[in-house]
């Protein structure tokens, strides 16, 4: 049952977006996020939507899968919408009751915010859909490498991330086993009151933690045995190489950003 959870889902399809340099994809995603926040007009959202749809088509990721990624953030969307609806007080009042009132401005802002968050999620999940976790960590390590100068442990952080990603399936499998083992001993995990269910998690979490610590120790020894000594003097099998296509993608993204910002000035 736990195997259904996938984190940082990656969809290995052969597309031009998949083949782009992960460093450029991260920068492009950041440009996209700036673009979404660059203006408060629906035009900005339309440009964002055009961009997302374009990338979505090029990446050959089924729309269905992207729509699914919205589902877990529905509560956040509803919450944001209600907050905006109730607390923004501008324009004509359409309805009021005691201290609550709904205004035109409120409706506009809440619709705008929902649109912005949806685009944000769609756009940034495209990054993880099209980039394998290992490339993503490589790219993050590369992009953060200037921080090494101020003694920020960039390599160690990237290593931690990739080991964490590596052990997610292993630990999920282990959790499944522990749950089955506890159920076989009569543990009630799926039913009872909320408090009972939380309490039932303890006999699952404790063995899981114990085993995770044991694994960590063994892994550390195994890494030492294979001459691991931090990032210094380390080479990589996979070299990140930027091609013309990568620069091209960067230009296209910048163009979108510039258009989006320019529109603000024109409208003003």
């Amino acid at each position: 049952m736990l195997k259904d959870i996938t984190l940082g889902q990656y969809f290995p399809v052969d597309s031009m977006i998949h083949k782009l340099d992960p460093r450029f994809k991260i920068i492009n995603t950041m440009l996209f996020i700036i673009m979404l926040f660059s203006g408060n007009y629906f035009y900005n959202l339309i440009i964002g939507a055009v961009f997302v749809i374009l990338v979505q088509i090029l990446s050959k990721i089924p729309f269905k899968i992207s729509i699914k990624s919205i589902k877990p953030i529905l509560p956040i969307l509803i919450f944001t919408a209600i907050l905006n609806l109730v607390f923004i007080d501008s324009g004509e009042t359409l309805w009021h009751w005691n201290f609550l009132k709904i205004t035109e401005g409120g409706i506009y802002t809440s619709v705008f915010m929902i649109g912005r968050i949806i685009l944000l999620i769609l756009g940034s999940s495209l990054l993880t859909y099209t980039t394998s976790p290992i490339l993503l960590t490589d790219a993050i390590e590369y992009l953060l490498s200037p921080l090494k100068k101020i003694n920020f442990p960039v390599h160690e952080m990237a290593m931690m991330m990739s080991i964490a990603l590596r052990f997610i399936p292993t630990l999920l499998e282990e959790t499944d086993k522990i749950i089955s083992a506890q159920k076989a001993r009569g543990a009630m995990i799926d039913n009872g009151k909320l408090i009972d269910r939380v309490k039932a998690m303890i006999p699952i979490l404790i063995p899981l933690f114990v085993s995770a610590f044991r694994r960590a120790e063994e892994l550390a020894t195994a890494m030492e045995c294979r001459c691991y000594r931090g990032g210094e003097g380390r080479t990589r099998l996979r070299q990140l190489k930027a091609t013309g296509k990568d620069y091209c993608s960067l230009m296209i993204c910048s163009l979108f950003l510039i258009i989006s910002v320019m529109l603000n000035f024109i409208i003003n």
């Binding site: 394998s132 976790p133 290992i134 990739s162 080991i163 990603l165 590596r166 399936p169 292993t170 499998e173 694994r215 063994e218 892994l219 020894t221 195994a222 890494m223 030492e224 045995c225 294979r226 001459c227 691991y228 000594r229 003097g233 380390r234 080479t235 990589r236 099998l237 996979r238 070299q239």
Partner: protein
């Protein structure tokens, strides 16, 4: 000396948690172990749980350093800090649980881990990774995630990860203990192949007698001391002694031994099924 891959002289070791002197005396894991292992040989180290065999293995690539005594790996003193990485590169180590020694999310990335640490140039890493994966017959799986592999396959990837360092010696600490019979056989085949074809010194720590029987030499450790050290035939024929320290012998050896005890003229130095079969046939024909 130049012919020895590993040379241990009077190793004494206890885990640092037992720091009180009198307690330390009782909790010695290794009690004066001296051992020489020749280059290109295949040695099995036998012993039951807690006998100190894994502790001894960890000394062989400087994960642990003895309290007293010295250990040389290809002439390098393991107690010298500056030899540390040279020793670990020469003597690679494979552990019991393949899940806990695979670092990366893709098979070839994991095999590349050690050469990456050694600072090998990328093109050379590529070559080494491909060769190592071919040597363990896992080349077709190079782009798989380790979680998609069986236990035997994962353990072979772990062995490839060590071979990619181009070590002279591989120490395997119960590499088949968590595997099913098929996985066990796959791994043993690879170990034998590496020893025979690439002349890599193999030190196999195990408690499977059938695996130890494949080695050229068997060292039996009990309670931190070397009890027996001889060819598998000579070691396993001492069934009494082996049973006394809680170890088994291969089934066929035990059968021959029991028959011999019952007065039949059969050699006790039988360790493979084939040998047993021939001996039994001979025995039956004589009657």
């Amino acid at each position: 000396m130049a012919n020895n891959m590993i040379q241990a002289k009077n190793l004494i070791f206890s885990y640092p948690a037992d720091s009180e002197p009198e307690k330390k005396q009782n909790n010695l894991i290794l009690k004066n172990i001296s051992l020489e292992i020749k280059k290109g040989s295949f040695t099995a180290i036998l012993g039951h749980n807690g006998s100190g065999k894994s502790t001894l293995a960890k000394h062989m690539n400087a994960i642990l350093i003895a309290d007293e005594g010295k250990l040389f790996v290809d002439g390098l003193d393991s107690s010298q800090e500056e030899n540390l990485f040279a020793i670990r590169q020469k003597a690679g180590m494979v552990f019991q649980n393949p899940d806990n020694q695979i670092v990366a999310t893709i098979v070839e990335e994991d095999v590349a881990f050690a050469p990456e640490n050694l600072g090998v140039p990328p093109e050379e890493i590529r070559k080494r990774v491909d060769n190592a994966l071919k040597a363990v017959k896992m080349y077709e799986y190079r782009n798989h995630a380790p979680t998609q592999l069986s236990g035997g396959q994962k353990q072979r990837v772990a062995i490839a990860g060590v071979i990619a360092m181009q070590p002279d010696c591989i120490i395997l600490d119960e590499p088949t203990a968590m595997l099913d019979p098929q996985g066990r056989q796959e791994v043993m085949e690879i170990i034998l192949k590496l020893n025979q074809e690439q002349k890599i010194t193999v030190i196999l720590i195990t408690h499977y007698m059938e695996e130890a029987a494949l080695a050229e030499r068997v060292v039996v450790i009990d309670n931190g001391q070397i009890i027996l050290d001889d060819s598998p035939k000579k070691v396993f024929s001492q069934v009494d002694k082996m049973k006394k320290i809680g170890l088994d012998v291969p089934q066929v050896t035990e059968l021959a031994w029991e028959l011999n005890k019952a007065g039949y003229a059969i050699s006790t130095e039988i360790i493979t099924e084939q040998e047993c079969l021939t001996a039994l046939e001979k025995l039956l024909l004589e009657r």
